[in-house]
Structure formats: C-alpha cells, structure tokens
Amino acid sequence: MTDTAMTYPAGKESGQAVRRKTSLLEVDALTRRRNAAERRFKIYGIVAILIGLFFLVALLYAIFSNGLTAFNQTFVSVPVTLEKSAVEQAEASIVKTSRYNAMIDEALAAELGRAGIATEMKPADLRKMLSSGAAAQVRSFVLANPGRIGETVTFDLLASSRVDGYLKGRVTRDALVNDKNLDAAHLDLVDLMQDKGIVEKRFNMDFITGSDASDSRPEQAGIGVSMIGSLYMMLVVLFLSLPIGVAASIYLEEFAPKNRLTDLIEVNISNLAAVPSIVFGILGLAAFIQFAHLPQSAPIVGGLVLTLMTLPTIIISTRASLKAVPPSIRDAALGVGASKMQSVFHHVLPLAAPGILTGTIIGLAQALGETAPLLLIGMVGFIASNYPGSVASGFLDPNSAMPAQIYEWAKRADPAFYERAWGGIIVLLLFLMTMNIVAIILRRRFERRW
C-alpha cells in the first residue's frame, strides 16, 4: 500500500468516488506510479533469482575448479619380479608390506636402468615417488594369484601424492625445499620418466569407486564406499521419512481434532526442525546404539537418525501444502459419498504433491549433506571398509557417508586431500541431482492451478 498514496481526487459527499475520464493510451500519474511499483516488484523478483543463481554459480565454480583434478591420478608402471624366496621372506615378517617395498624399489631402479635414465639415488629413495600403498597392491596381487609367483608382472602403481601434485601443478621445486618426503631431484626424474611413458596421468576410476585410505596415502583415497554408505542411508531416509512424514501430516492436518494437544504436537514438530542436527546424533547414539543395540557406524543407524532429522522438514512442508488445498475440493468429494480418507488420498494429496515433493527434495538434500549427527554414531573417521557383500550387510556393516568422508578429507594434513575433498563434493552434488531428478519431474507433473 505504500506506493499508492491517496492523492487522487476523492469522492463526493455521496461517498461514491467519481473519477475523471482518461484515455487508456495515456497513462495517468497514479497508474504510472503503480506501474513503476509493479516493474520494481518484478525486478526485485528477477534480482532475487539472479542473486540465488549468482551464488550458485560462484559456489559451483569454486567446487569444480578445486575438485576436477581429483578425477585424474598419476600412475607409475613398474614390472616387478615376484621371486619366490622374497615373497616367502616377506610373508614371514610382522609388517609384511615393508618387505614388498624392497622388491618394488629394486624393480623401479631396474626399470629406470632399462629406460636409460641415470640416477644416483638409492632404490629406497626412489620409492618416495610411489604411494606407500604400492606394497599392499603388490601383496594383494600375490595373495590373489599365488600361481604367478616367480613371474614378472607389470604393475600400475600409484605415484605419491607429491609426484601427482607436481604433474597437476600443485607442487613446485621451490615448495619442496623444506619437504622431507620428496626432493627436487625426484621431480627431475619424474620429468624423464614421463617422457619415457613410465609415469602417466590418467582418469582415475578408483576415486569414484574406491574406499578411504589413511592419512599417509591421499593418492589412494576414493569416495566409492562412502557413496554406498550414503546410498543405504538415503534409502532408509526416503522409505521411512517420506511415508511417515506424509502420514503424520495427513493425520494432523485432516483428521486430528483441533485442540490443545494437537497444537502442542504442531509446535513440537516445528520445534524439532530447530533442533541442531548433532542433538539427533546424541539421540541416535542413546536410542539406536545403546538402547536398541544396533551396530556402531552402521548406515542403518545413520539412516534412522537422518530420518528423524528430516521428518520435521517433510511434515512442515506437507502440512503447508495440505492447508493450501481449497476446502471446496474436499466438500465435492465428501458430497458424492467419499469417505474422509478417500477424499484425502484421491483428491487432496495429489493437489498437495508439489509441496510434499519440495519438502522431500530439501529434506533429502539436507540429510545427504549432514555430518554432525554421524560424528556421534561413529560414521566419521577412518572407516575404510570394503563394498558390502550383501544388501543386509550394506545396512549393517560399518561405513561412512559422503559428507563425512569429505569432512574428514578436508581436515587432513596432506594438501592432496584438499582436492579430493572438493572432488568428493562434485560427486555428492551429482548424487544429489540424480536423487532429486525424479522428484523434480514428478513435481512438475502434479502442478496445476484451479
């Protein structure tokens, strides 16, 4: 009302306003002002959307520019001779992998010799160019293929995070001055090896499918297993919170008597939305792990906690959309003898569907990105489990979740984890969009005006 000042010639004594005749083609002052207000209003709308989109683009730019490199990784191909005696000796020691390291060192030195790259570095020093996971890679090959002991097998071993960083432009010779893990001399070698095709940077599927690695080998870490964890959690969340949320809203909005008690429940639900997510973690720890004895670090527990956390979001949006359905629709259904239940499920619910789906989209997005409650139920940390063997173990075996994995990576000391954290965010966003696409399409189909 602010933009319609009351300056127009007002009505006569009769109380009935009479207005001057004006041409439609020339816009009078008041209309001009009102139209200006209209235009401003519309511009505000556009600006609002642009603001949102601008920040979206800025954030996405930051995410992609930091994270895309995570999808490439540097590999060193080394033919290793798996001598029987060496293998047996290694298997007899406590830290078996350290013996395999020696084998790899020799193999790498030999490979350099074959390629005609002269170096004064000792074999053990050469290993600094390789991931510390290389030995485990060789050992697990040996365990899986005992028949090939004695042969020479060419391995594509991961280069160490610093070598990888060098090829990605993150690590420079200057930067290595104080570094105790790698010298500038290594980098010269890497250059030569790259020329010979021993070192190569290529797309790294393991980042998308692999599992977490310890702090000392960022090059090996992947988000795949935690993605499975998130997937199982989201399955729980979707199949519990959507039906429960919608059912609860229907009861509260359509069936519950309107009294103090239901007011209390209503306030209570909005209030649950304001409960910090970590408090849901406290609840989950107490209720699901300590009371119900569900396993630690299990996606089922995470899913249950996130379900409780998402419920208020879905309930609030569902109730709002149920409220927005005009009563005449309900009357029409009741009038032809539909039961209340039928009128709700046949007519009201489909009309409220867009809002319900919006709530679901937002709720699931929140659930997918949440870390804090997972902290308390043990899904954050180093949980490098393998792919679950069955659906049931997918729910019950220890696992992490994408945001927790990202959060962990972001904290780690080696800067190579930084790019992985951002790369993980890219995967998370793609996951989110895949998850939402169904809801978005459905929502469009249900939208209608009446």
Partner: protein
C-alpha cells in the same frame, strides 16, 4: 464438532423420509437456523425458498452432515432419515452421504477430467461392473443433466475449463451418477439458461419417481413448477411449510405472502 442433545423421545415418523426436529445451527455465535422442525416426504420434491442468507443452504447441508466440515459450525436437535437419527455416533457420515447426494451452490468440479469428475462417485461406490458400465453411467448422467452434447467430444479435458453453467450441470451429473436416495440441490439452475433449466427440471421430475429431492431455489416459478411441497425460510426460521399449491395461492403467514408477491425488504 456437532453436538447432539439426546432426543427425549423420538416419535414414530415413519411416513416421512426425512424428519427434522428442533434443529438449531450456530456458526460460532451466529444463530443461523432457529428451531426448525420439518418432515420431508419420500418421492416428492420439496422446495426451500426464502431470502438470501436466511439459512436454506445451511439447513440443506445439515441433512447430509456436510456441516461437519465447517469447524465453527455446531448443530443441535435431531434429523431422522428413514427413522434413523443421522447424528447418532453410530451413523457413518460416509454412508449417509452416499445415500443423500448433494449439488452445491457454487459449482465445485474436481481439477480432473470431465469423465473422472462423473466417474469418481460410481468408482468409489463400486456401481459399475466394468469399464463399459462406467462409461455408460457417465454418459447417461451427463445426458440427464443436459450436458452430454456439449462435452461428449472433450470428456478428457479438465472439468474446471467449463463455463459456469456447464460446471453446474457437471456437478448435477456427478451427484446423480451415484444414484442416491435423496438428492439435495442448492440452486441447481442458478447459472442455467431457460432451456437448460427446463432440462434439469425435467430431470427432477423424472427422478421424483424413485428419489426424494430437496431443492433450494430463488425462482418462485421454478418452485411452483417442480415441487410438490414448499418450505419458506426467513431469518433462520422455518416460517411455513406445505403443499406448494397452498403456499403460493394461500400462504398462512404474512411474511410468506410478502415474499412470494415480492413485497419484502
């Protein structure tokens, strides 16, 4: 929402299809229906007439308990259909409404296709054996409501895209498609032209053979044409009720006379 004072002694009123006794309706503090008692006979058409805002719609909605849906609305007294108190807690309003159909004053088609609008009732009541039977019901209902010719080619377009009068006939068709025993019609012809009106009146006449019909109308002529009995409401009171002929030719109450001769206000 609805409170019923227990009937002290409900007299036997078997002849009447519907009998209301001392019905009071309140919207919050507004007393919209005051102490109305009336008997509505089976297989007759009863017209409710009266000035706008006198409570006709309100009373009509009591008969199939549509007032249950209005939070602030409170009904007292008792209404019996076939001798059974419809406000008895044991009564299932759903069954009641299947038995007592209603055409609302404001047309309220579902935001669905025309076909689904009509087919909805028969579907939930299981009135059609199969798809063909359902189509049959839809077509015949639309025909009876005089809408068939206009919409037969666009049955799958939304019912909300119809003109005002078409929507009204759609709602009539929707109500008769479930063949209720009693049909309550709140100004069913208000948006209809004379020809469509005639068609609906014909329908009413035809329905009368099997059903009990209550119709709210503002047109004296229409009341005279279609109804056998007429009830005149005024400011929430039932002023007079009787054979339509009597009411129009020989009203007992001064207010009735004033109203039908147009001398009110």
């Amino acid at each position: 929402m609805n409170q019923m004072t227990k009937p002290e002694k409900v007299a036997a009123m078997n002849e009447a299809k519907i009998s209301a006794e001392k019905v009071q309706v309140f919207y919050g503090d507004t007393h919209a229906i005051k102490d109305v008692s009336i008997r509505i006979e089976e297989k007759t058409v009863t017209a409710f007439i009266g000035p706008s805002g006198c409570g006709k719609s309100t009373f009509l909605r009591c008969i199939n308990r549509m007032n249950d849906t209005i939070d602030v609305c409170r009904v007292e007294g008792n209404i019996l259909i076939d001798g059974e108190d419809i406000y008895d807690p044991k009564v299932d309003p759903v069954q009641l409404r299947a038995k007592v159909g209603m055409v609302f004053q404001k047309p309220n088609p579902f935001p669905k296709s025309i076909f689904d609008n009509i087919a909805y009732g028969p579907r939930i009541h299981g009135l059609a054996r199969n798809k063909a039977a359902l189509e049959e019901i839809v077509a015949s209902s639309l025909q009876k409501a005089g809408l068939w010719n206009e919409v037969k080619d666009r049955l799958d377009e939304p019912g909300t895209g119809l003109s005002g009068g078409q929507q009204q006939r759609l709602c009539i068709a929707r109500a008769i498609a479930v063949s209720p025993e009693v049909i309550l019609m709140d100004e069913p012809c208000s948006a209809l032209d004379p020809i469509a009106t005639a068609k609906v009146e014909e329908l009413i006449d035809e329905l009368r053979e099997n059903y009990t019909i209550v119709i709210v109308t503002h047109s004296m002529q229409q009341a005279a044409r279609v109804s056998q009995r007429t009830a005149f409401f005024h400011l929430g009171n039932l002023v007079e009720e009787g054979a339509t002929n009597d009411i129009f030719t020989n009203p007992r109450d001064k207010r009735t006379q004033d109203y039908i001769t147009g001398r009110f206000g």
